[in-house]
């Protein structure tokens, strides 16, 4: 790479990073605002069923930092969060950050694994459609993609459990037994596959990849490559596959995380989604605030990585 090319990339990237920081600031403000505006306060959950005097009520509020002005609350919450202190869970009393890290890895495995599954389904179909055009297979495949995208993922989970575990006994259900230990990776794979298939984005991903690839296949430089007898694939890969794949992944991460909430519920997967569900039940504000922040950070990180890939592939920088 020539030095002259580095400057626009560095400029574009620093712009992206600044934007990411600005967006996360906005996210934190929205999260704070929603809970600040909520009626009552979460402390009443803590004190539910206890007879408390006003003094101890005020004491608890004081201890948790409630009776200050809203901006002071916001700034102290934000400052603590930047230091990695997400507060303690109202329900369990454990520090939220440690809890999120503990279960967050499970959710990360689930989401990244299912993204991979989605791509394994979508990329071959999209490439087939883009390169070969209309074939006998394209209509059934399109229809299948539509149906899969409309499947309620919670029902798909039960269907898979029933068919593969109960009906055909492909692997045992009893957890904790030695057989289950042996098949642990299967239990691991089933929720990932279910989310990968049923997250509702398959048909959109296929359509996007197919359209981008067909657009690139019609470009002059591909025709030139073909005429020269060069490798079409090598020329089409970057613009036709790499960039669209990173773009669609980055834009679908929020959907996959949303689907993870449901799949974790179906399969009892100990992840952030289940934790968010529990926190919403209990009005456990520090936990749900922390999860929302971590999830948003994950989404922004994905789109930052996408612009990194874009900048690396296309050193001219974005065309305004």
């Amino acid at each position: 790479m020539r030095p002259a090319a580095i400057r626009p990339i560095a400029l574009a990237l620093s712009r992206e990073i600044a934007l990411t920081a600005l967006l996360l600031l906005g996210v934190s403000f929205v999260v704070f605002l929603i809970l600040y505006l909520s009626p009552g306060d979460p402390f009443s959950v803590l004190l539910e069923g206890q007879t408390v005097g006003d003094a101890s009520r005020a004491g608890i509020r004081e201890a948790l930092g409630a009776p200050r002005a809203w901006y002071a609350q916001y700034l102290s919450w934000l400052g603590n969060m930047l230091k990695g202190n997400f507060g303690t869970s109202i329900r369990t009393g454990l520090p939220v950050f440690g809890e999120i890290v503990r279960v967050g890895l499970n959710t990360l495995t689930l989401t990244l694994g299912s993204l991979l599954i989605t791509l394994c389904i979508a990329v071959p179909i999209a490439l087939h459609a883009a390169v070969r055009g209309d074939t006998a297979l394209s209509w059934p495949l399109t229809m299948l993609a539509y149906v899969v995208s409309a499947l309620p993922v919670f029902w798909l989970g039960y269907l898979v459990i029933y068919v593969f575990i109960h009906r055909f006994g492909l692997f045992p259900l009893i957890s904790g037994s030695s057989a289950a230990q042996e098949h642990a990776w299967l239990y691991f794979m089933v929720p990932i596959a279910v989310l990968g298939i049923g997250n509702g984005t398959v048909s959109e991903v296929i359509r996007y990849l197919r359209d981008e690839m067909s657009r690139v296949m019609a470009e002059d430089y591909i025709r030139t490559a073909r005429a020269k007898g060069g490798s079409v694939w090598r020329h089409a890969f970057k613009e036709g596959l790499l960039i669209p794949v990173t773009e669609i992944i980055a834009s679908k991460i929020p959907f996959i995380l949303g689907g993870a909430v449901i799949v974790e519920q179906v399969f009892n997967w100990p992840g952030m989604g289940r934790m968010a569900w529990q926190a919403a039940q209990d009005r456990d504000f520090p936990v749900i605030m922390g999860i929302a922040m971590v999830a948003a950070a994950f989404v922004r990180l994905g789109s930052l990585l996408q612009s990194l890939v874009y900048a690396a592939v296309n050193p001219r920088g974005p065309q305004e």
Binding site: L23, L24, G26, V27, V30, V31, I34, L35, L37, S38, P39, A129, G133, D134, W139, Y146, V147, S149, A150, L151, P152, F154, W155, Y158, L159, I161, Y162, H166, G200, S203, S214, M217, A218, R223, S251, I253, P254, F255, L257, G258, G259, V261, I262, Q265, A276, W277, A279, A280, Q281, R283, D284, F285, I288, I291, A292, A295, A296, V299, R300, S303
Partner: protein, 297 residues
């Protein structure tokens, strides 16, 4: 490289044929199925509202638990309390229909207003809208909804209002993009040279003549999403609560029996969700291909 038939297809778009003659069979089939689903939903909603049901959806019959379709006069069988599944499916539409319309109304009206401002006035509104777009996209929608639920314990209408608000930036950028494209055209310039007031240009020449299909498509896809969110929430136990039926809580209630091999009580609502959302998706995409000229190859 374009096949000659594709080029011919492109030319035919500019001819004066009515759109249903220009459209491909696949797109017409999509739209036909979508319209069928919409009609079915509307009729069922009306039937449920007027209480014209085959059975009382709350009537428990202990003698007929988890009955398969067709048994004892129950067309779609009964659930774990012996309640008629067909009646519950029809009544379940109440759970998402009006809340879904609310979400669509909010995202389309606010989104259009913002989009007009950004597209027509341009300038400083533009980066602001793209910022809000990115901000909303940063939240997994279900996590945002769980946050709102934790804060307000709201009913489904408030939840759907939040869903509607999250749809605003998407609609806004769609409309703004379309307007930016239209502004280069001569007829807008001609209209303003002729001295037409700005609101006439915007409302009539831009929104009505050129954006209404976009809005219809947006509404269709928005309804599909609203159904998905309502059923997901009811499944998670945050939406409509038993004994009031919703497709989501019906799947949830039937799930325990699914693993005992009585798969029907949770499969019937799941299929209802599947075919309804499929209908809205196909309707939206079909209309998009036909009216906006983005042809499926």
């Amino acid at each position: 490289m374009k096949h000659y038939s594709q080029v011919a297809g492109e030319i035919s778009q500019y001819s004066d044929l009515p759109f249903w003659k220009k459209a491909g069979t696949t797109d017409l089939a999509y739209v036909a199925y979508g319209l069928f689903v919409v009609t079915l939903v509307l009729v069922s909603y009306a039937l449920g509202a007027l209480k014209l049901l085959p059975y009382d959806p709350q009537q428990i019959s202990i003698g007929l638990l988890n009955a398969p379709p067709g048994s004892g006069g129950h067309l779609l069988g009964t659930d774990f309390l012996g309640r008629d599944i067909l009646s519950r499916l029809i009544v379940g539409i109440q759970a998402y229909f009006l809340p879904g319309l609310l979400a669509i109304a909010i995202s389309l009206s606010l989104g259009t207003a913002l989009g007009v401002v950004a597209g027509y006035r341009g300038g400083s509104a533009d980066p602001l809208i793209s910022y809000f777009n990115d901000l909303v996209d940063s939240f997994p929608r279900l996590v945002l909804i769980l946050l709102v639920i934790a804060a307000f314990k709201p009913d489904i209408y408030y939840v759907m209002a939040v869903v509607g608000v999250t749809g605003v930036p998407g609609v806004a950028s769609l409309i703004a993009g379309k307007i930016r494209f239209l502004r280069q055209k001569n007829f807008i310039e001609a209209a303003s040279v002729l001295g037409l007031p700005t609101h006439v240009i915007i409302l009539k020449h831009i929104l009505w003549y050129n954006c209404r299909t976009l809005l219809i498509i947006g509404a269709t896809l928005g309804m599909g999403e609203a159904i998905l969110i309502e059923t997901s929430l009811s499944y998670l136990g945050f939406g409509v609560q038993e004994p009031t039926p919703s497709w989501g809580n019906m799947v949830q209630a039937g799930a325990n029996y699914f693993l005992q091999g009585k798969f029907w009580p949770s499969t019937a609502p799941a299929l209802a969700i599947l075919f309804t959302i499929l209908g809205f998706h196909l309707l939206g995409d079909g209309l998009n291909n036909i009216l906006e000229g983005k042809r499926n190859k």
